[in-house]
Amino acid sequence: MENETEAAAQVINGQVEAHVISAAEDESKLVRDAVRKLPSHAVKELLSMGVCIRCIFRLIGVSECIYSCTSLSTSALSTALEKGMCLEGDMMDNGLRIQEDSNSQHSSEEPELEPNLCRICLGILQFTYHDGKEMLMKSDCANEFALLIAKVVKQEGHQIDSFSLEVSIPSRVMENEQAVWLYMKRKYNSELWFPEQLHSEFISAKDVLKLSITNPLETLLDIKSSLSSAFRIRLTYTDSAVKIKVQKSTEMKECNKRRKTGADDMDTIGGCVAAGTDHSNSCTGEEYVGRSCNGLHNHDFPDLSQFQLEKVSEPCRLTFLCHRNPVYIGGRYLKYSRNVSQTRWIIDDERMGEASVEEIIGSNILPIFHGDNYKFHAAGREDIDVRMLGSGRPFLLEIQNARHVPSEVSIKEMERKVNNLENKLVKVKNVKVVGSQGWNLMREGEAEKQKQYAALVWISRPLEDDDLKTLSSLEDMPILQKTPIRVLHRRSPLEREKIIHWMRIERIAGSSQYCLLHLCTQAGTYVKEFVHGDLGRTHPSVGSLLGCRAEILQLDVTDVKMDCF
């Protein structure tokens, strides 16, 4: 893996170099042009506040294309900025570079180890973060950062043909940029360069990050990024300072109270904004930010010179997550055993039945896709002692985070694997890869559809030809069915009307009292109770229709009529 990554690094460096040679002119011109248009006095002020270059660009409204320049490293940017400002002439002074380089220069006891973190984006757009092991990570350019992400993706071993990038960043970043933007608006609104945009319109830190690393990731992973991709790379930044803030919360509440009594309309989010201040002048600073966030009282800002952003001492913690949307496998299952439940069924640590359809199918299919887990859904269910024959019953298997993409081959492999199991308890057919709405499809079909059964029935007198006629003459017969006694302990006591669509008796050679009763019923009919009558609680029943006692020895489902799978 190490070698692979190094190789990848070389590849991308090579490509970047090549790219630079061909496109370097364009890119550096783009940067130069962008820089030339910047208002140097505002840039200078933002830099001295501790705002990074990318955040400055987006606040001042530099066009989006600059962020995806692959050659754009933080150091190259600051050089360009410095030069640009020089070209502009007299506005340049020593202050400009202070924020980028000063720490390492003026204090030899705090060398490069401590990065100078942007007070708006908390270092996110400087590609600086803590990894899962609390290691400080810093990349100079997007390519370097993308390389780290690509390494994680490759370790996961996903078969992928596209990806979508998701970024989640702490709300503190938004609060910071809002505060700064309102401050700038207050101060520079009258100047020509000030962008005519609302604060919600400048490009977000999230999008800048995405723009920066999408191209390098596409190159490294050799696939395209697509919003609709089922494979998602998720970067989650969490604020390392949150725990510190909680400690300070008492102090902040004091502040809040005072403010609330002071002005009724400022009790919203002011208190949670920690951005406005150093501790020395915490109350005024916070109040200032609180007001600006509410968008109120823009006219009575305190002295503009008091505006400060809180120093960021720790970068965000970053976690990478690779995740594929579930893969759905639809099909029908057959169950040949009267001792296999549909789903895993454990009562008091004791397994009911020798196995379950869910586990037999899931455990054999999951390894084919190298997924994390599976979920099994079926359209209705049969009792453990009822076989599922004939058409089979529609099921949907949801494979979570599959690393392998289903193919024609793997579908055939799935069928073969399940159907050739030695115990022959369960088989599958019509197996297909379906979209996630296969789930809805199954749900929809379930309610209104018919179920067909074959029941082994015994009656308390010899069967007569008239009996065959009696039953086969009945079509779409309504019956009233009280909740069967066998489930009455856990279900609501109700009387439901169900429809018996048709019945047909098949005689069994060599017996006068046994027969096979084929019947088609509305979904949800309790068929066993329809045969024996459940102490007269289902009426009419086969017994009452034939005027004798009817008992059911075995039941099988022979057809589940549904459009799907």
Partner: protein, 218 residues
């Protein structure tokens, strides 16, 4: 923290019709082969469904026999007031009159059943929901109904302390069910006892063998 983007499942590119099309087109791709396959499956189904008669009992045990364990309360409160308690594996108890109950010895047997005993009409209570709302909690000697014969009447009691889930209101219009099928369609009521209460009640009941011995039903 900002909300993360979650893909809307309804936006899935593959539509319902597309799925159905792929399924139907592939299944009808070769119709003769398909027909043959169906024939084989039909044969297979028939083979699985039709039992070997030699494996079947001459008279199978009934659903009642299979699903319930029978207990009896001979001489419950009064001599000759023999009742049964059929207990389902799920804990519910079906209460009814044992075949040796005095009522069946009267000329013409049972002629009427009246659930209007005690404070309320037992058939008027509608129990609802999984939690069995409205179910009344009765003691083992609480009256369930009165069964009348030509000359007299008998009080039928719960025998088991618990919640009354339902009474058999068919008996109001068809009291004869008690004479013809007291252990089936002529049951009196269904009671749900708490596990502890069931254990206490059970210790006062007798099993089928002891009952038969007691009543010399051999």
């Amino acid at each position: 923290m900002e909300e993360q983007k979650v893909q809307d499942p309804n936006n899935d590119p593959q539509s319902k019709d597309e799925i159905l099309n792929t399924i139907s087109s592939s299944s009808s791709s070769n119709s003769t082969q398909q027909q043959q396959k169906e024939l084989v499956e039909e044969e297979e189904l028939k083979r699985l469904l039709v039992p070997d008669v030699r494996d079947l009992p001459l008279t199978p045990s009934s659903a009642v026999e299979t699903n319930f364990v029978p207990y009896f309360a001979p001489d419950f409160i009064k001599t000759g007031h023999d009742q049964y308690v059929y207990r389902h594996a799920n804990g519910l108890c079906v209460i009814g009159l044992a075949p040796t109950h005095l009522a069946f010895k009267d000329d013409g047997g049972v002629t009427a059943v009246d659930f209007n005993v005690g404070k309320s009409d037992r058939s008027g209570i509608k129990v609802t929901g999984k939690r069995k709302k409205n179910a009344q909690h009765f003691a083992s000697n609480t009256a369930l109904c009165k069964v009348c014969t030509k000359d007299t009447s008998y009080i039928v009691r719960c025998c088991v302390k618990g919640s009354l889930l339902e009474v058999n209101d068919m008996l109001i219009t068809q009291p004869g069910l008690l004479n013809s099928a007291a252990d089936r369609e002529g049951y009196i009521a269904i009671i749900m006892p708490k596990p502890d209460d069931w254990l206490k009640a059970k210790s006062l009941l007798v099993g089928a063998d002891e009952y038969k011995k007691l009543r010399e039903l051999f």
